[in-house]
Every structure is written in structure tokens, then in C-alpha cells.
């Protein structure tokens, strides 16, 4: 797999393409793009079969290790790749360490190993056991192992530990990658750690940038501990950190950020030159029975940003979630039906909400790419920000 970028500026919005994928030569992914967040190999609530009702375009599935740890042993005997195993052979896969929807608990870090939280509790991975999994999963893209357990309030000591752990993971994983026949075509993403301390970030970059020949892209790691709180991070706080990193990264490599950023911050990050996100925001919303209703196009018929379908006012509201939306949920089901399903805890409730949310989010990214192309991202940012602020006021 190769990444081609159409711009050479350090810290500015840009268009790119992921293509020349070994097993899928006809597939290419345009960036800025969103990976589809999965848990246990499925987009939460939506099986791969149902996803075909949402989109038939090629997608990258984000596969957090936490939900896949249970298959560690089975995958050593399985002949195919992880995308075959999870029942989505036509998708690309990106193996990640942590799940952006679940809080990475703080204070469980250790020397030269990192914890993940599986259904059976805490499990530690070191560079060797992590790369064993990567080799047996054979993902198209994977994050190198990192200790990204830092946030805005992390101590110097924690940051320095995160740095030393991640530098040695970087070296060990990359060495293993270079020796591996199986991973010859896998696209490597190197996490960049260092919390909110500029000096630490710079120190980290210095220790890895000399040797990035086999690295396809970078993950801006260590900004948050995942989970729903990422949605409410203040952009002003993360902006200087991200800017500083992007200014030092080679421009021709993919830039990835993980987490359920709200749409306003997604645009802000795109403006700075981030290429790849994930759809965990859709899941976070669906879990609180909320559907995205913000206008993407000026012609969209909506005066809300987000609606909560559990609200009793939808009891006899036979309109779709979002008038004019072409997703399966909006073309066939009403708010009243979805409200009924949610209030009696039926499985179909979150399915219909999630279908709409993923559809809307994919449409949002399509619009972002169009705006970058036509140099009109600013207008989209103004519109989404205004809708977001009005929503905050009415809450």
C-alpha cells in the first residue's frame, strides 16, 4: 500500500490517496478519510451484511486489539487474514492497540509493556507478543505498539516513561517488521507520544525520525485516554501540540488521529492536515440514543444538530430522523418507531440509529473532501461551528 499526497505544505489541509494495495489493486481510499470503528470485528450494532445497506464503497475497518484478543490463539491456526476471519474480506483492515470508544484506564502502565482491557480483564502486551498478533492477523495497516497513556494533566514522570517505552517499542517492532515476510506489504503507522509537553514531543520525534524508511504514516497519540470524553476536548488545548508535531513530520506520510472527536474538531484537524480519522463518534452517539442531524449541505432540511430519540416528544413523530436523508433508516422508518424500539430495549433501535449516524458521518467526510478540493473548507467550518454552538445553547 502507498500513500500519495497532493500537497507539500507542513500544516495545512490536503488531499491524498491510499492505493496500490497488494491484495486489492482496484481499491483506493481518498483522504481525508474515516476508518470504520469496529468491536470484535463488527461495526457496533451493524453486521457487515447490514453495512452493505449503508455503503458499498471500499472501507478501512479499524480493528482495536482489545476486542480481538480472544482470537489470539485461533488466528495462529487460521489461514486467511483478519478481514477474512471477521467476515469482511473486501474491506481493508487497520489494527490498533486501544479502542477509541473505551477509556484507557490510567496508571496501569509498566516498563516495556502496555495494558489493554479485554472482556476478561486487563492483558499486557510487549513488543514481541504484539508483533506475534500482527503477524497472525496480517492486517493491511497497523499501528506500532505504543504507550500513549497521557493526557493534558499527565506528570513529567509519566510522559518520560511513555517516551522511553514507545521509543523501544518502535525500534523492536520495526526490526521485526523488516524481517517479516508476512508483513512485507503491511502499511506501518508509527505513534507519536509526549503528552502536552512540546519538549517531550520533540525529543520523541528526534529519536524516531532518523529511521522512517519503512513507516507509512504517523499517529498523533497521547492526547487523551479515549472514551466519550474525547468529544468534549477543547481544540485550543490540543492545537499547539498537534501543530508542533505536524510541522516536524515529513509531509509525504499519512497522518492519523484516533478518537471520537466532534465534527467541529474534525474539521479543525483536517484544516491542520490530518488525513485519517475513525468513526467512534457514531458509536458514542448511538450509545446515548442520539442521531446526527446537523446540516452538511446548506440545502439540508434541519434546524437541529443532534436529536435524542428517547425523548418522549418523538412518541408520535412519524417523520424520519433527518428529512431528505437517503439512508435506510430515514427512507423506511420513523422517529416514532425508533423511539418505540429504544424505549422497549429492542436490538433494532440502536441498529437503525447507527445506520443513520454512519451514513451521515460518511457523507460528512465526503463533503470535507469536496471542500478541501474546492478550497471551501472555511465555509463548512463556519456552518458546522454555528450549528454546534446553537446546540450547546439549547441543551
Amino acid at each position: 500500500m502507498k500513500f500519495y499526497v497532493e500537497s507539500v505544505s507542513k500544516c495545512a489541509q490536503r488531499l491524498g490517496t491510499l492505493s496500490e494495495i497488494d491484495a486489492k489493486p482496484s481499491v483506493s481510499i481518498k483522504t481525508p478519510a474515516v476508518m470504520l470503528h469496529t468491536q470484535g470485528g463488527q461495526i457496533p450494532h451493524i453486521t457487515h451484511e447490514v453495512f452493505k445497506l449503508v455503503s458499498r464503497d471500499p472501507q478501512i475497518l479499524q480493528i482495536p486489539l482489545a476486542g480481538m484478543h480472544t482470537f489470539k490463539e485461533a488466528m495462529q491456526y487460521y489461514e486467511g487474514t483478519i478481514s477474512n476471519f471477521i467476515g469482511s474480506k473486501d474491506s481493508l483492515t487497520c489494527l490498533t492497540l486501544q479502542d477509541p470508544c473505551n477509556i484507557t484506564k490510567q496508571g496501569h502502565n509498566s516498563t516495556l509493556k502496555v495494558p489493554i482491557w479485554t472482556k476478561n480483564g486487563k492483558v499486557y502486551y510487549d513488543a514481541k507478543s504484539y508483533m506475534d498478533v500482527v503477524e497472525s492477523f496480517k492486517p493491511d495497516i497497523y499501528f506500532l505498539l505504543s504507550d500513549g497513556d497521557t493526557n493534558i494533566s499527565s506528570s513529567e514522570k509519566r510522559i518520560s516513561k511513555s517516551l522511553s517505552n514507545t521509543v523501544s517499542f518502535y525500534k523492536e517492532c520495526l526490526e521485526r517488521h523488516r524481517k517479516s515476510q508476512t508483513l512485507a506489504n503491511s502499511f506501518v503507522i508509527a505513534p507519536v507520544v509526549g503528552g502536552y509537553k512540546q519538549l517531550a514531543r520533540e525529543k520523541f520525534l528526534k529519536s524516531i525520525l532518523a529511521d522512517v524508511k519503512d513507516v507509512g504514516g504517523f499517529l498523533i497519540d497521547g492526547l487523551h485516554n479515549n472514551g466519550p470524553e474525547t468529544e468534549f476536548l477543547e481544540f485550543a488545548e490540543i492545537e499547539p501540540v498537534v501543530k508542533n508535531i505536524l510541522n516536524k513530520l515529513p509531509t509525504d506520510k499519512l497522518r492519523v488521529i484516533q478518537g471520537c472527536w466532534n465534527p467541529v474538531n474534525v474539521i479543525n484537524l483536517v484544516e491542520m492536515g490530518i488525513d485519517l480519522f475513525d468513526s467512534s463518534y457514531c458509536h458514542i452517539l448511538t450509545e446515548r440514543s442520539a442521531a446526527m442531524t446537523f446540516a452538511i449541505e446548506p440545502t439540508d432540511q434541519t434546524d437541529t444538530y443532534e436529536i435524542n430519540l428517547r425523548d418522549a416528544k418523538y412518541l408520535d413523530d412519524f417523520q424520519p430522523i433527518l428529512t431528505g436523508c437517503n439512508c435506510t433508516s430515514c427512507t423506511k422508518y420513523s422517529r416514532a418507531y425508533i423511539h418505540h424500539l429504544l424505549s422497549v430495549h429492542e436490538l433494532l433501535g440502536p441498529i437503525l440509529v447507527m445506520i443513520h449516524n454512519v451514513y451521515h458521518y460518511l457523507r460528512f467526510f465526503e463533503k470535507i473532501r469536496k471542500c478541501v478540493k474546492s478550497n471551501t473548507l472555511q465555509a463548512l467550518q463556519v456552518s458546522i461551528t454555528e450549528q454546534f454552538q446553537n446546540h450547546q445553547k439549547t441543551k
Binding site: 470484535g40 457496533p44 450494532h45 485461533a74 418507531y337 418505540h340 424505549s343
Partner: protein, 396 residues
């Protein structure tokens, strides 16, 4: 003057050995090929399956529960929505129960009088509510299912009090008449009477004979599958199908295990429903012709075969037992995958039964089916007895 019938029944083929038959009924929302298994979509949805997925599978009819829908979303919303078909976007046929059984089984405090079933509502007010035959039909009219059930006086098959059971038989017929009287949509909905009488053959006979005097489009056999022994169960089914007319569908309520379906088809039943295939999916249990697979078991962790190699469902085409084993009971979408397989399993079984009857090879089908299930030929007594009552010997 002609009135349009909401149920047109055609007998297509009969088995020359047993009482099994293939037929088709045309309802306002389309045809139903019988014998048919109807999965249960209690609250206007079937365990995480989208209605369009079910349509794609070729499902012709499903069941919904009046008690649940009457409570939530309630008659008012259902009427505003234009009925359950529109509310849930299901274009094929629906059948609703009367709500009576749900009450007696779900609510310990239900009290039955001549007027109806009195119970304490499950909603927050905990008010005392009365479900009468009239009220049940009113709710079922609002739901708008193609087939609706009369409110019946359900007595558990394990209740030994014959006087009480005799009372329930006559009361059920009186309630049938009250239901038919207040039915507002006879052009689009058929009310089925329910034959009661628990395990007393004389009472079952009275019940069935009373019901067949009424002008209705089909009949149900109720009050079974409630903990009675299989030896008692099949005899009552056999007796009822001997009395019920051949030119109308016969619906055996609450039956859905593969083995029971095969036998009750042989005994002449046409329609079945049961929550089991969809409920069990939730616990990671997949159905196959050789028995049930509990996918949570350790032995499937490295089993890269599908649930069933011959199954055409999406789950069997795309997923291994090893994968399913790691996700069942952990993620809701895994439950949808097993549900799809189990629904397809039931539909395929019924289709195979229909095909074998049409080719007049049903007895061979039954013998093969039982051998797959009991490879060492240790057939349960009730299986041998019930099949020999319809001229199939398993010892051949």
C-alpha cells in the same frame, strides 16, 4: 353482493401415508406457503433483524404480541401510524396473539372472570386493568395483522381440575362469539378460534366441535406446549386435527423445535410459532439438523467450519464457528448473525417438508430426519408412537 375474503385457502398436495399436507393461504399482505413456521417479533421487531433482511430471506409471515404492543406503543400510536405493518415497515403478513396467554404466563396476579382477564398493569401506575375479548380485538384491529386470535381462557395443561377446564372450554367459545361480534375489520383480518381443553380428549372434542360451527377462516390448537408430557401432547394434536376441517388452516400454537415440527406436520398441522429459535440465538445457540450447537463452548475456538456447511444463510457463507464463538453473547451484532441462521434453519426445514410432501416422499424425509437426529436409533417413545399413529414406522 360479494365480500372479499381476507384468507383464501388452497390445498396443494397431501401425503398418502400421513395426515401431512401442503397448502397455500393468500392473505391481504400476500401468500403464505404451508406448513409454515412463524418467528416471533414480540414488540414489532425480530431480534435485531431489519424487516428488509427478513423479506430478502423470503419470510412470508411473522407473529407479534398484542399484550406488548397494546402496552407500548399502544393503540393510539398504532392507529396514528396506520397499523403495525406501516409502523415497522413490514410488507408481508402478520399474525397477532390475543394477549391472554401472555398475561396468564407473565403476570402472576392475573384473575380470570366471565368478563375477561383482570391483571395489574406492568407500567408505572400499576393500575388494575381488565382485558376483555372486546378489548383484545380492539387492540388487534389497531395493530391490523392479517390473522388475529380470539381471547381464550387459558388453563395450564398441568392443572388437574377438570371442572375448571370444562368451564374454560365453554367460556372460550363464549368469548369467541364476543370477539366475532365486535370485529371491525372482517374484510382484512381473520379471527381464528382456539381449541382448548388441556389433555382431556372429551373436552378437546367439545371445544373443536363448537368452534367449527362458527363462520371462521382457520383454527388454532392452543394450551399445549406448556410442560405436559410429549406422550400426552401428540395425542391431543392428533385428535384435534381429526376433527378440524381439511379445507382451512390449522395453527398449532407455541411449537417450534425441529423434531416437534416434523411430527406435527405429519399429524396435519399447517402453522407453528415459537420464540425458541430467535431467543436461543441470544445465548449463542445455533440450530442444525443434527442438534443444537452451543457456540460458546471451548471446542469451537479453533473450528473454522461454518455453523452448517449446507446452509445458504449469510452467516454460514461468511463466518466460522471460531469467529462466532468469540463474539456471541459479547456483542449484539453477533446475536443478529445467529438469529439469521436460526430463522433460515426453520424456513429451510419447512421448505424441505413441503417439497417432500409434494413429491409424496414425506415418510422417507421423516425417517431420514429422525436418523440424523438419533444416529443410534434410540428414538424417544413419543416419536415412535406418534409417527406410527400416522403409518410411519421408524424400525424399517
Amino acid at each position: 353482493m360479494t365480500t372479499k375474503s381476507p384468507l383464501v385457502f388452497t390445498l396443494i398436495a397431501e401425503c398418502h401415508t400421513t395426515k401431512a399436507r401442503v397448502s397455500r393461504m393468500v392473505l391481504p399482505h400476500g401468500p403464505v406457503d404451508m406448513p409454515v413456521f412463524m418467528p416471533v417479533g414480540t414488540q414489532g421487531t425480530l431480534k435485531g433483524m431489519l424487516p428488509e433482511q427478513l423479506e430478502e430471506l423470503g419470510l412470508q409471515i411473522m407473529l407479534a404480541n398484542t399484550y406488548h404492543l397494546g402496552t407500548k406503543p399502544g393503540v393510539e400510536i398504532l392507529e396514528k401510524a396506520g397499523g403495525l405493518h406501516k409502523f415497522m415497515n413490514w410488507n408481508n403478513c402478520l399474525l397477532t396473539d390475543s394477549g391472554g396467554f401472555q398475561m396468564v404466563s407473565l403476570l402472576k396476579l392475573a384473575e380470570i372472570t366471565e368478563e375477561g382477564v383482570r391483571f395489574q398493569s406492568l407500567n408505572d401506575q400499576k393500575a388494575e386493568v381488565m382485558l376483555t375479548p372486546e378489548h383484545s380485538i380492539e387492540i388487534q384491529n389497531a395493530i391490523g395483522a392479517d390473522i388475529v386470535m380470539q381471547l381464550d381462557d387459558v388453563v395450564r395443561t398441568t392443572n388437574p381440575d377438570k371442572a375448571r377446564i370444562e368451564e374454560s372450554v365453554h367460556r372460550t367459545t363464549r368469548w369467541l362469539d364476543r370477539c366475532l361480534q365486535v370485529h371491525k375489520k372482517p374484510d382484512t383480518q381473520s379471527i381464528f378460534p382456539i381449541v382448548q381443553g388441556t389433555l382431556y380428549e372429551d373436552l378437546r372434542e367439545i371445544s373443536a366441535k363448537d368452534h367449527i360451527k362458527r363462520h371462521v377462516n382457520g383454527y388454532a390448537i392452543g394450551g399445549l406446549s406448556g410442560g405436559e408430557s410429549k406422550d400426552d401432547f401428540w395425542k391431543i394434536v392428533h385428535l384435534c386435527t381429526n376433527i378440524l376441517p381439511k379445507d382451512k388452516p390449522r395453527y398449532l400454537m407455541g411449537v417450534g423445535f425441529a423434531e416437534d415440527l416434523v411430527i406435527c406436520c405429519a399429524l396435519g398441522c399447517d402453522m407453528f410459532d415459537c420464540v425458541f429459535p430467535t431467543r436461543t440465538a441470544r445465548f449463542g445457540c445455533a440450530l442444525t439438523r443434527t442438534g443444537q450447537l452451543n457456540l460458546k463452548k471451548e471446542k469451537f475456538k479453533k473450528d473454522f467450519k461454518p455453523i452448517d456447511e449446507n446452509c445458504p444463510c449469510n452467516t454460514c457463507k461468511n463466518y466460522t464457528r471460531a469467529y462466532l464463538s468469540g463474539v456471541v453473547t459479547v456483542y449484539p451484532s453477533a446475536c443478529h448473525l445467529i438469529t439469521e441462521h436460526n430463522v433460515v434453519f426453520q424456513m429451510r426445514l419447512m421448505k424441505d417438508i413441503r417439497e417432500s410432501i409434494k413429491q409424496d416422499k414425506f415418510p422417507e424425509f421423516v425417517r431420514k430426519f429422525m436418523l440424523d437426529l438419533y444416529p443410534n436409533k434410540e428414538y424417544p417413545t413419543w416419536v415412535r408412537d406418534s409417527l406410527s399413529a400416522v403409518n410411519i414406522s421408524l424400525t424399517l
